[in-house]
Symmetry: D2
Subunit: 489 residues, 4 copies
């Protein structure tokens, strides 16, 4: 298989920095050449991409495959989740390793095992859920030995994943020293707990209680807090799943002042609104439960606007899927509804339709927000996120004149529901190439368990560029310490 040779002919090759009509020649999983009119010999698979876009495969920076959570396990594992991804034009994702009882090494081992059935490339972020010397040492190990360059801190999920400001500060400083990116789930977990109690006290036990218990102001609060603590430490910050205007405006403000903050909206937050949570059918309503919640109409539009101009930088999914039976765990109490929605298969189509087909975003920016910026932030560009000579041959072919339709009956996730059920739009991924192999074509998937590779992500990516110089300049500017005589005056 590794000797497969492919020529993609006549398409518009789109990189974040450029689009051009060109052929792409692939050998041994690597892009060998990108230029017009490439001549090839025999034994080369030819794909005609005339009138279509040839783009880097999507990279989803935010997924949870086979994650133990809220008493159950997400239904998509590294096989089904990745298969769905490939069918939807995503060729790499970065999943979150959850430590085992706070232990990072054990967590990584567990996830390495889960990923043995992988059918496409993947990387890992690592969650930090407690703090001690061991964790601190393990963070070094993760970065220096295990190819992890990002750590996530949960400011919500009180009693389980949530960490305090004190720990967050320790974490930010450790991240800075390691050249690793600090990520936050930004909601005020103490207030969320109060909000949940309030709703239950009011007799609001259904899915709508989920949204009401954790309003946007709590996301705005935590986002502001994380940003300012990162400013104080002077280290880059990555805010996952930006769901509200409140959070987005904090990011915009920080960036205006020169702070290095990355904002990741997710497909559900960009596309959906919370009216579904009021649906009279429990199963329907429950499938939209995620945290932070999908917001009222208006937040989605504002997030799309911010994405279109680079105020937010890249799009994830927080793919974290549970089926109806699992969602039914919370039928008497929304606090027990497993949090999460699907998206890994749908993201590329939805963003194309809502952002490009709508005229709000250029094709090159589409590549940037779905693939390139993720590769850059996590320091694997241009191996990933580009169609350049030497890049991994993770490529999609999108037909802008074809249409897509989303349905749980036909999707590749193991879940029996889909939060985008029935959604249609323009632009269809007609072929996906992963590691130089055509894995999706003519609506058919051809994947091999175990073929997916773990992609190591080195520390000190571009967000750290010049940081030590800026620190030095800052310290030089303090005009301190002052030499003093201790007077008695």
């Amino acid at each position: 298989l590794s000797s497969e040779k492919i020529l993609i002919k006549g398409g518009t090759v789109v990189n974040a920095h450029r689009k051009e009509v060109a052929d792409v020649y692939i050998e041994d999983g690597i892009v060998v050449s990108v230029r017009p009119n490439i001549k090839v010999g025999d034994h080369v698979k030819i794909i005609d991409a005339t009138g279509k876009y040839v783009m880097p495969g999507g990279i989803d920076p935010h997924t949870h495959l086979e994650m133990e959570f809220m008493g159950t396990v997400t239904i998509d594992d590294f096989f089904t989740g990745q298969a769905a991804a490939l069918a939807g034009g995503t060729t790499m994702h970065i999943d979150f390793v959850i430590p085992v009882n706070g232990n990072l090494t054990a967590g990584l081992e567990s996830y390495m095992n889960k990923a043995k059935k992988a059918v496409m490339d993947y990387g890992f972020h690592m969650a930090i859920t407690k703090w001690d010397e061991g964790v601190s040492k393990d963070m070094e190990l993760m970065v220096n030995e295990h190819g992890i360059n990002s750590f996530k801190f949960f400011m919500a999920y009180k009693g389980s994943l949530m960490i305090s400001d004190e720990l967050l500060l320790q974490g930010l400083q450790k991240c800075k020293s390691l050249g690793a990116i600090a990520m936050v789930h930004a909601e005020n977990g103490d207030a969320v707990a109060e909000g949940q109690k309030r709703m239950i006290d009011l007799g609001i036990t259904g899915p709508e209680g989920h949204a009401l218990s954790r309003p946007p102001v709590l996301e705005g609060e935590a986002t502001a807090r994380a940003i300012r603590l990162a400013n104080f430490v002077n280290t880059p910050l990555y805010v996952v799943h930006v769901m509200s205007i409140d959070a987005m405006e904090e990011i915009a403000k920080a960036r205006k002042e020169g702070q290095r903050v990355i904002g990741e909206p997710v497909a559900s937050g960009l596309i959906l609104d919370d009216s579904w949570l009021w649906h009279p059918d429990y199963t329907t309503a429950a499938k939209y439960v995620m945290s932070p919640p999908i917001r009222t109409s208006g937040h989605d539009k504002a997030l799309r606007a911010a994405l279109s101009t680079g105020v937010l930088q890249l799009v994830g999914t927080d793919h974290c899927t549970f089926n109806s039976t699992q969602k039914a765990l919370g039928s008497e109490d929304f606090r027990k509804i497993p949090n999460g929605v699907n998206g890994i298969e749908e993201r590329m189509h939805l963003i194309w339709d809502k952002m490009v087909e709508s005229g709000q975003m250029t094709v090159t920016d589409y590549v940037r927000v779905t693939s390139t910026e993720c590769a850059k932030v996590f320091n694997i560009y241009p191996r990933k996120g580009a169609i350049l000579e030497g890049s991994d041959a993770d490529i999609i072919i999108l037909n802008p004149n074809a249409s897509f339709k989303i349905a749980s009956a036909s999707h590749h996730s193991r879940s029996d529901t889909n939060v985008y059920e029935g959604t249609t739009g323009k632009g269809k991924v007609e072929a996906t190439i992963s590691q130089g192999r055509v894995v999706y074509e003519d609506g058919k998937l051809k994947v091999t368990p175990g073929s997916g590779r773990y992609i190591r992500m080195p520390p000190f990516g571009y967000l750290f560029d010049g940081m030590e110089k800026a620190d030095a300049a800052y310290f030089a500017s303090l005009n301190a310490p002052i030499q003093r005589t201790k007077s008695a005056a």
Copy 2:
């Protein structure tokens, strides 16, 4: 003494709502009449106020007399501090009771004792420094039995006064139920602790390290957090000592969105800048150490602008005075410098000069920010904060054409230093009347220990007006709970 009768003739009587040329007649400590050309009989002291302003005595919402803090005790007690106040035109203050080992009742008892030497009227806020059932019960007692209607939460001073978000949320909810105002000292205490450590590690042990260790971003963070948690609970919030643009802008934003947030700048923050902390003389530098720190030039001007248009509402001092010997405790380590500056005597003059004499504020607004708004917020208006028939006769006479000069040699505080040393300006309080008695005149104080009265402040002041209706409207708007059949779909 209580039968003293006074007629203030021919001045411009200024209330926050109106200024008019009128006489003021006082009997038994109460304003009996305010109108032009009052005729009186014999045995009435006549004060000619022609060409001068006759205004409600200042009310300082924020002082710390005889407070045990950082291993020492503030040097002004209820006698010297209040004497200074009266000499400067302030006739009432509200001090902060610090619980004894977290116990509110013991704290109140202690402060009631300290206040036995009082020479003017005073009230109390109560600090909350831990949380349990006893504290919660005691809060009820304080409000319902002891005349306290405000509770302060410290978001800084880690390891001593600082409380967590969880406690703050409990406190906010308790305050709401009692009709008591929640107050916050807004700095992120965890980050401050890190910042202090960082400065010490850098060898910056002097007073300038104080400012550098707790930059404005940490005040902005905590202010944003407190505001949003108060929004979440829907209860009024009072932010003490707003020292930075960062904090002020959070208040402005919340108010624009209709939230009931009160912002209290203090004299030092409105007038001074942090350059003093870099002074080569330790004693000079150390006297400017307070928290949040006095900021770089520019913050002061922005705070004055916000005060002038009602974005900030009233002016305090955080009078918390230590003399040079006490300040010397931190000569090797800024973390040990007792935090605090003077102001109770200087506030009325400084605000007049900087705000009214500069043309930035009207005389009526001067009365509002120095006296009336405080009386309204803490629900003792119009007994205090006004010169109306029936009001307490706490009155000052200010000559706009005279000048003031501030010097530690002549001030009434027990401290040997003054952060406004040498400051001069226009507008001089020439007489102070407290409880209907002339206590300051011709530069001379005539005060009687024990004559000061404890002023009970009832709960549910104007900031709570309509809150239950707004809550009801909010709950009605939720369209929840939804009646559901639990489907299997």
Copy 3:
């Protein structure tokens, strides 16, 4: 009639600065006494106000009675408009004199004539629609001889009322020198004209085209422009009919920076949304046409929030009424629909219900925004806007437990429609006293044409306080001119 004596007993007397249970005694049109338990002799009309609010009559800062506009004349004149006002609890209004061919004196004469049938007190603003030496001189005359202290500039209505930036700057400077308040109708008139053309070109000729042709961005633009030019000149600015978030945010920003800007939302903007303009019945849709347009839902709520915290200061109506026949002038072309809605009768009820009954505003603030602030801004306080000894006896009695219902069948305007048709709410003005006479009681009006008085408004109101000192400080700060030698280097 002038000798009528009235005692209002037992009500809650509300001033902007205070509410208290007290009696109010009135003689000869003046408030003689406000205190509990007033004893009176015979021949005094007693009104029992127990359980009700006794408040200053409303002052509407923004009306257009008998105005020639868009080829017709507003249907309410100084008789019917004022009668409606009194029936709704408004006892004074300030109307806009429109110059005759740009001539101010002729305009004033015309309006003085129109006002001969007045049944309540009134004042005048003056519009400035062209600029030359004569206009400049006439402005002086208006201020110094005729009791006018405010001038309005239209930034829209291209080709008729609109003025250029150049004229606006001249006007602002003239206003500053005279101590008169500059007012603006803030929309970009050039862009509105383009927008109208665009809609007609699209075949959108109905009332919905009105809103679409002049979106909020154009109101925000002009508001920003006027504010910044007033900042540049350093003179107070009054923005009439703030209809959008865009405009409100500009005002909020300027005030935060210390600028003296007054924002006047109007009843329609606070209560309604633009969905009516899409109504399939032309007559229904057309009655909502005013400029700036009533906005989409969300703007109303944001304006109410800003009003509740003083970011906006007082409420007008822009009462400018046309009946169905007149509105029909634009049935083929929205540009010909006479612009204007009713409100002079409804304002006091609507604001009570939406702001006070909803819990969003205190009763004292209600008095402030409906009456007191207007009297202060236009320098007729405390004769107007207060119930104080010596104030004009313009008073309403509002029963918070009674209800109101609005209907064109029963309103007092001459119009056959009402934009609030069918609206009900809590809080009912049960009696109106004007000039010390009960003019509305038991649902009955008793008014006398010609009894209304012209109220002169002196210049240099509170918004000008200290301005010359601020100017002097500014000039002193310039550190200019620099003395220079002209070198050749």
Copy 4:
């Protein structure tokens, strides 16, 4: 010469999208290959770039060579200005054609003549200074025949270049239809004229009067106005020389809301502050006079922050140089000081030092803001703005360890002064390659008059992508026109 072959060996090749250690091979003025270890034959000039950065030559989007202005002519023409540019690492610029008596064609002809002595590539923007059918037609001609895709509108320079809102709206609409970018010089010209008069009246006739007469609020105003009018028309806007926080914040706000606005700070605004204008030596002070003025300290820092995060997008110079004799024209009246500063030679060094060497910006972003983004905005990428196969060989080699020093004695401009006199910093352009020829090396320039080429810039660049779809979506969303029966109700 055109057959020159060059191999740049071993440097770090930096494009905006990527940096990599590679060789660059150039033939016939075109980049032939970019990859490590390129083997070449004889007759190839080898440049060793080991340890140095190989980057696209700078493109200066904003210059005024040989422009007639304020009664004189800028002293640098297309020879000296371009020579200076090349010596400083800039290999292309876009100059502004000023129409002749409003006539575009005549203006272009004049500039084509001036450019005959060009020594490097250049393009043109076109100013629009009046409006009629002829201008409108000529704009079509410029775009469709003459390779111009941007038009500039002056909102200042009253009486000469300034246009009204009405014209600006016409211009924006025309630009939209042509796919041309509208550019604005954003200051309120009417207010500037008043401000100038005010300063003269105050006796402030020196250079400091220039800054005082046109404060930031007037730049903020015009920027807000232009942005909102462009929003209204829905066409891209390019704001030249963003000099103040006020203007930058308007751009930030618009971008956050999804509007396509480009902000161009210039070297002087990013680096300098206005204290120079108070210099006692006239010649020194006068050389800093430009419009909008260089601002007080603080604006520069805020602009750099905004540039670092993409809130502002690219850096120009507004190189518009006059020598001391010319500047002396205004020695009695700052209004006559020819407006303009140098920068075309200094920009690349200054931005490197202030942004990259300081640690605030990555090297790739440096390329983006100095070259690539300009090429993209003006639709000549990747011919310009990149080192890709097929790109024009406009390349610089920068040694990050060498230093630069700026002095009028050694600069290449014809001017006898330099606003950066004496400035030193790290990072030195050691070689410049233009059109594949080494034109600057070892501190020596080798340029050939007439060798510069006019670069045509096609319309409908990326800022127009999807605009017609967005417009269609907007119109579809209007739900208009409504079909109505004209009722009589």
